[in-house]
Assembly symmetry: C2
Homo-oligomer: 432 residues x 2
Amino acid sequence: MNYKTQMEAAKKGIITEAMKIVSQKEQITEDLILKRVAAGSIAIPSNINHKSLNPEGIGAGLRTKINVNLGISGDCPDYKREFEKVKMSIALKAESIMDLSNYGKTFSFREKLIDYSSAMIGTVPIYDVIGYLEKKLIDISAEDFLKVVELHAKQGVDFMTIHAGINRNTVSKFKESGRLTNIVSRGGSLLFAWMELTGNENPFYEYYDDVLDVFNKYDVTISLGDALRPGSTADSTDCGQITELIELGLLTKRAWASNVQVMVEGPGHMAINEIEANMRLQKRLCHNAPFYVLGPLVTDIAPGYDHITSAIGGAIAASSGADFLCYVTPAEHLRLPDLQDVKDGIIAAKIAAHAADIAKGIPGARDIDDRMSAARQRVDWECMYECALDPEKARNYRESVAVENESTCSMCGKMCAMRTTSAILEGRDLDI
Amino acid sequence: MNYKTQMEAAKKGIITEAMKIVSQKEQITEDLILKRVAAGSIAIPSNINHKSLNPEGIGAGLRTKINVNLGISGDCPDYKREFEKVKMSIALKAESIMDLSNYGKTFSFREKLIDYSSAMIGTVPIYDVIGYLEKKLIDISAEDFLKVVELHAKQGVDFMTIHAGINRNTVSKFKESGRLTNIVSRGGSLLFAWMELTGNENPFYEYYDDVLDVFNKYDVTISLGDALRPGSTADSTDCGQITELIELGLLTKRAWASNVQVMVEGPGHMAINEIEANMRLQKRLCHNAPFYVLGPLVTDIAPGYDHITSAIGGAIAASSGADFLCYVTPAEHLRLPDLQDVKDGIIAAKIAAHAADIAKGIPGARDIDDRMSAARQRVDWECMYECALDPEKARNYRESVAVENESTCSMCGKMCAMRTTSAILEGRDLDI
């Protein structure tokens, strides 16, 4: 092979196997995929060591993808349960899984995960640094951080969140402008603490070129983390967030110069009226790099229902340009999600992504909706279940209540509008 | 009293008790409320016979309100359960309840409801015509329809959905242009069937002035129903929908000329990219009358989760001008909602309404979010629960998993970003 990364191949005019697969999945020509991978507006995260991967593209003109977070943590170190989440995520067609493990046997869990998963795998190496190295934060060296990054890369992780944008400049602006909820990014807060405790520059910023060398070697996509993503609607689009975004735009160009694929991470909590402007700002400042958003959550007051606040923000974000949605579960802000939370989070994220794809005019996006609508018009329940995002839930709902008339449901019974209208248009008798 | 309706009072420069209450609730001067009620851009549905009402305004510059649908139906004639829904709706601060009963003792249920409810009450009289009169649809006369309208008005119903816009002109356009899902409005389909079977004009259109006389007498607000609301994303913003909307705009002016307050009902199913344009179109064609929307559902393929598809559409609609959101429950398209469905529907609608109010800059809307965010920053769980839309669910979620550290939750444990950042900024020791 005369290339190391998808981006290098694209720049050399080589259509890779991954590009071919993406082209087929997205109904977009191989040539256009190649051009966009070369320009950086599409990323195909695909570590050369992730053999079981079924590659997906993320970016301009493609279907909106979704990511599921899971992993082993100190308060809930249940390996089996976390693997159940993996299986469910793949069964529900999530395109990506981030393993956020930060406790215990992270290495072997990740190994098993990469071996099993056809979905792309992401990690946040800094979460793993403390657990894996068994050191206190202040005792960790810049080399330690890079060591864990290399370990993940070698194992086959397709993309990694690297919070390289929270450098001294960003921290100084954040401190000067002040905030209601300071730093809510877990990785960001650890790096901030490390920088303040050691007096050193952010190691991912200072040694960014070394990080890129590793990423280039294994074709890891860099997901530029937003340490200062707003943790409340009060903090969104503020000095800290935008200062960091400017840094991320500069870091994007540097990564591309090394043929490393890039995604940029985004907010967070944000009122509806700011979302579209944020999408445009990111696309401009980050040179059309794919935008990966968490939420945004459009209000702060709905713990227990943040899959919904996030679906609202995610749908608006994706229809205004975001390419990749991180799921949020009902457990957000409250506990580690259980299996049902994971399912609810995935479905809500898929709704947001799909609704955005219809709005964006992604090729074929509405076909399944039209099949569903035609089935509703025929009152064809089996076909409706088939078209449903969650066929089992739809079936259980309807069948939980006995109905007088086989063709209807208990909502309207024999006053079903579909049934009434069709009877008239088709000249059949009405029994009401 | 030298006025019959809120609108008449407003036109005469009289500030009513209801206007004073709305002014206090909304932090908007009595004078501005009066001007907008006179102009029709705010409605205060308040039947003179609804003595227990705590009035709310709907429209320009006011908080977005939400409505809960319930009622007795043939497949689930459970009076007690429906009344449990009423109690829950009021406890959860829904501003409006529509009683869609169409079976059995509708009169006495409605009587009890109006007597009990501080929330405004709406009905769709045509649902009640068949059940109450015990006649077949084809045997019902135009006078029968009006009789039921008058009965509801006298009982104290604050607003009624009247599908007066589906007249011969609208039907002819609908038939000519064709549709994937025809008519999905229950009331609209019944009127369409009646018109086709009898050959008569829509009685609510033909005898619109008689309807207005009744509404004027009791100060019932007319909610102009959208019989041709799109039942699929394929049908939205089509010839049928917009033809009817034009009729609703004309009917709005006629109602105002009779001092009858007006709301206009809207879609339905609709892709995200069409929502804002629809809001502007309604406001223009209907002369800024308050817009009452069902959904819109932004995809068709999520039965079992339509409270989420609707929250997405409702939040976008309300932030672009809609004033009043009808809740949609997870049971939509599948069965009559049970108590849990009703709760889920209410919370989802409240999220959408509140997120829109933040976006619209409604006075004080974000105060509760800022209190929540400040509590998060302090890691003050009791205050977070207090600020939550559903305190009980938030508490149960967090407390369902034991945590090592009292101040955190099982999501991040001792790696809590809030805790880490505060420790550094406040110069405390870190235990990680």
